[in-house]
Each structure stands twice: as C-alpha cells, then as structure tokens.
Symmetry: C2
Subunit: 113 residues, 2 copies
Amino acid sequence: MKNIARIFKALSDETRLRILALLSSGELCVCDLMAALELPQSTVSRHLAYLRNAGLVDDERRGVWMFYRLKQESALGNELLLLLIAKLNESNQTHRDRKALNALPDAQGRSCS
Amino acid sequence: MKNIARIFKALSDETRLRILALLSSGELCVCDLMAALELPQSTVSRHLAYLRNAGLVDDERRGVWMFYRLKQESALGNELLLLLIAKLNESNQTHRDRKALNALPDAQGRSCS
DNA sequence: CGAAGATATCTGCTCATGCGGATAGATGTC
DNA sequence: GACATCTATCCGCATGAGCAGATATCTTCG
C-alpha cells in the first residue's frame, strides 16, 4: 500500500500528468517534452526523475539524448493505468500539449532526430 | 486535469488509502475509523476532510455521529475507482485494518451504534 | 441551560515538494 | 584534449502537507 501511495504521489502533479499523457502515444526525449510543455529543462528532468523513481517510466540514452517511455508494467496494474491514460487523454490540457508536440519542427529542425 | 491531480493528491497518502479501503465495504463513522486504524481523532478527521474536499467521500451527520461513505461518482470515473479499490483490498494493510474493524465491540459496546 | 460526547478545526512544528537558475556530468566531434 | 550540446542534479526559496494535542463547534439529554 505504501507503494500505491507513492505512485499516486507521482501522479498528483499536473506537470507529471501532462508528461504521462504525451508519453502515452510513444516515447519522447527531454527536448521534445520541454518544447511541447514549454517548460525549462530542469523542471522537465526533475519530473521525469520522479516518474522513473515511482516506476512509471523507463529511460534510455541515445547519444546525448535521453528518451523516456511509459512502462508496460507498474505496481498499479495494466488496466488501471490504461483507464488513467484514457482519462488524461480526455482533457483539454492534453489536447493543447499534443497539438504543441505535433507542431514541433520535423527531423531536420529537431535536435534529437 | 487539475482536478485529476487533486484527486491523486488525495490518494497519495497511506492513511487515506486505508480509510478508502475500509469505506469500500460500507459507511463508517469517525469513531469506528479511529478504532480500526488506531489513530487519533484529529488525524482521522483531517484525512476525511481531505477526501471529502477531493470529492471522493460524502458525510452525513446522525446525532453526534458523523458517517462517511464512498461516493458513487467521482471525477475519476466508476471503473477506475473500482479497480483502485480492488487493488487496495489486495494489500496486507487492508487485511489488518479490516480485521481490526471486525474485532470492534458490537452495537452495545460502540458509541455510534 | 449546563454537561457530556463526538468531531471539525486550529496550532506549532517538521518534512516534502514545487519552482527555475546554476552547476555537474555525459556524449560526440574535431 | 577542447568545445558544444544535452540533461541530471544541486541550490535556495516558497508553499503544501503530515503529525498530534488543544480548542471550538455541534448534538443530545437531564
């Protein structure tokens, strides 16, 4: 139960929910998240660390870039997580963030691609 | 989304999760919760207020007693909440708490019944 | 009305967590 | 090795939240 509380604590911040919503459709690098969420790098990194420590995301370094993705398994269970993601994807904030993400420059204009 | 974060914040404390687990099988008064959880009255009351403000529980005064129950509807959605409750009911802590609750004196020995 | 019982809220304290800029660390290229 | 880029972590600050005892508030009864 302590672990469940810990995961909910990870989920109790709007920025982190925004990150999870964006990650729900595929892995992203810190620079993409920064751009889409319009947040400073340290803020994004800190929240990603929190999510990773809670066991909700995995990271992978590719050169100078760090990519993050949702974990398939967490202590919350798949079904619960899927419902949560669905809930997040209903929100206007997620629509706005996703629009910003899709408006990012293509491969050539991006640092990580 | 702010509201979702708020609900998760309400869920991010172990004591509150314990309360929700106990309430999942029926309404309880503050004095029962105090006894089952072995926590002081002010702690229980404060957590219940937090849960009520997050829209997860309803209260009802009956004489000098306050009864609390899970809300049927919350901003999280029924299904998600049911899965969460199921998750909570798997935990050893919930088993211990429920055992303590069942060990409480019967009607005559209880103040609220 | 006063007293008793139940409980919400206040209080003071400590710890956790949010923020963003600064800095340390990692990677890649020349 | 020097330098550029990316990112994790530190730092200082402000705010939120946990705790339990004290106190205020509410209800009921004699």
